[in-house]
Symmetry: C2
Subunit: 381 residues, 2 copies
Amino acid sequence: MKESRIIYLDNAATTRPIKALETLMTEYREDKWYNPSALYKGSSEAEADMAAVRKTLLDAVGGYDRQAVFTASGSEANNMAIFDAVKPRESCHFVFSAYEHAAVYACAKMLMDSGHEVTFVAPDERGVVSAKSVTDAIKGNTVLVGVMHVNNETGALNDIDDIAAGVKAAKKDVHFHSDGVQAFLKVPYSLSGHVDSYAVSAHKIGALKGTGALLIKNGAKLRPIILGGSQEKGMRAGTENTFGIAAFGCAVENFPADDAHIFELHHRLIAGFGKLEKVVVNSPTGDGLYSPYIVNASVLGVRSETLLHALEAKGIYIGIGSACSSKTRTNRIHDALKLSPERGESAVRISFSHENTAEDVDTLLETIDSEARFLRMFTRR
Amino acid sequence: MKESRIIYLDNAATTRPIKALETLMTEYREDKWYNPSALYKGSSEAEADMAAVRKTLLDAVGGYDRQAVFTASGSEANNMAIFDAVKPRESCHFVFSAYEHAAVYACAKMLMDSGHEVTFVAPDERGVVSAKSVTDAIKGNTVLVGVMHVNNETGALNDIDDIAAGVKAAKKDVHFHSDGVQAFLKVPYSLSGHVDSYAVSAHKIGALKGTGALLIKNGAKLRPIILGGSQEKGMRAGTENTFGIAAFGCAVENFPADDAHIFELHHRLIAGFGKLEKVVVNSPTGDGLYSPYIVNASVLGVRSETLLHALEAKGIYIGIGSACSSKTRTNRIHDALKLSPERGESAVRISFSHENTAEDVDTLLETIDSEARFLRMFTRR
């Protein structure tokens, strides 16, 4: 399969690594590959290189009073923040939005299995989570609230500062965590003091899979999930993925600051869907309620996976919700969004990168229309 | 500092990534970067690429009845195997060698803190762990025995098949785990049926930091440490580090099969140390008792770190034990080896790769000799 023929519109699943990583690999092999934990100059330089990337990540979200702990994924970063909040030998209460990524939801399930209590807060009719609904859920033994910044299936943009402020006003010692994986660099954001931890991932912005980070407050010290050496100030053992970390920094520095192009693609797609028969948009479209990078829509009468493969045959890659969960699909997210069964089973996700063009969107719209007309002829109901 | 002037002899800490990774990055960026969990062809190809690397790893240790679970480090692989053995709500007993890597030792400490019991078995006077000493430690509630294959500080080669066979004969439901990080490809080995899990790491053989694997039996299903999506058959959530994994496979395929060169370097170094005044070798040197990749020696009267920096000033990088622990140094390993305080505080580690030459060894020996003569003039005792 020639990659040049693919129109890739599943950038929320992963992005193509940027070209600059080729040069970076050559530089890395030259003299940047030393073990940062060793004691000679090459190692202290490797540690300084990592420190520079930490600063790059933090600067990108205005987190000057923060530290960045590197992980192998956004999932691991989410796990670290959540499990750190558990108080040994106490029954704790957690609050999560009902449409969190599997990395958070699986932690919530584990907490429930371990005897803790979890409240899931549904998004409102606009598709976003309200501060009031979260604050109302807080109890005397609530230890952590987790609300994702941008929903990975719909692009819904939650006002996490507003939510976090509400949480802290209700109970000031609650840890507020946000999964920022789909938001990082993609929505303008500066970390507020109420957000205690923020998870990010490298491969959603043009760097490599296998690198993530948890941005936490200076001085915070999380219990490690992976035990061993004293890397990451004792919060995460194992030799650091120094090339992946360098690539992460490189991708942040190269990420286009101007999101006007993505908004254009988004508006073109939403407008185009409006002209198609039997297509309904499941993402919020109100001002300030969405990331332009992700659009979820139901092509009624055509099952998601059928449409995905029909488009694939025409050289177009799209997603059906989270790639992480696509092989073990449940309706948890659709239930949270209160999608009808018809909308739920025909929901697809289109997600952009700066490599996409208006022509990509037009080709997608034309292809969805023609394929859907054809496929609906075989629909049983 | 020009890297061309460095003689790098700390390959047990990490190795320089192989040149082939530069080409690999270019290929990867072309059309191998898709998310393996998505549903289109690019993704199933990414999954197939990972499957090929799993097979490459397993073939390298004759593990045809095995599966490889990718992790972010050898440390994570060790953690996964060890914590999976804990039986909820039971007091369990574990046996470890007394000179395990920090990734295992930290797990052992956590187990003790959680109310479980741990027995540490010291190596014998030869510096290796005997099957009898391990078997004698097994009790009715022993659930896991962990003995590293090659010790990372001394290069001692433990006969893990013999130990594992003894363990299984004593109590057949005990899980036998081995940290194979310093052994993988570096000592001839084919996994025996008694070894239940084996941890390996990519960056010790010319691939990248941030990739490891746990080799376990087919059908075994470990509890995940990182929760979320169903990657790695539900055993480890988070989008897979597909580039790191590809690099791991590439490095295995490119690893020199012939270890004669490393044995030559080893013999040259041991012989050279024999001619130096006040230098004693702490590594086993008997047939079959060592990996030729690692030599530990004490340059008496010169503190380890002092010698390290003196050599660094001459462009030679060596180690002082595990890089992972070098900044939080304790005498745990030296105690296990029953080194005298004088030997312990002057112990250094020299570790080879196939890039090293006989000239490197000669330069090292000459430089140690001259530096030690100079530095001893300032020794207080």
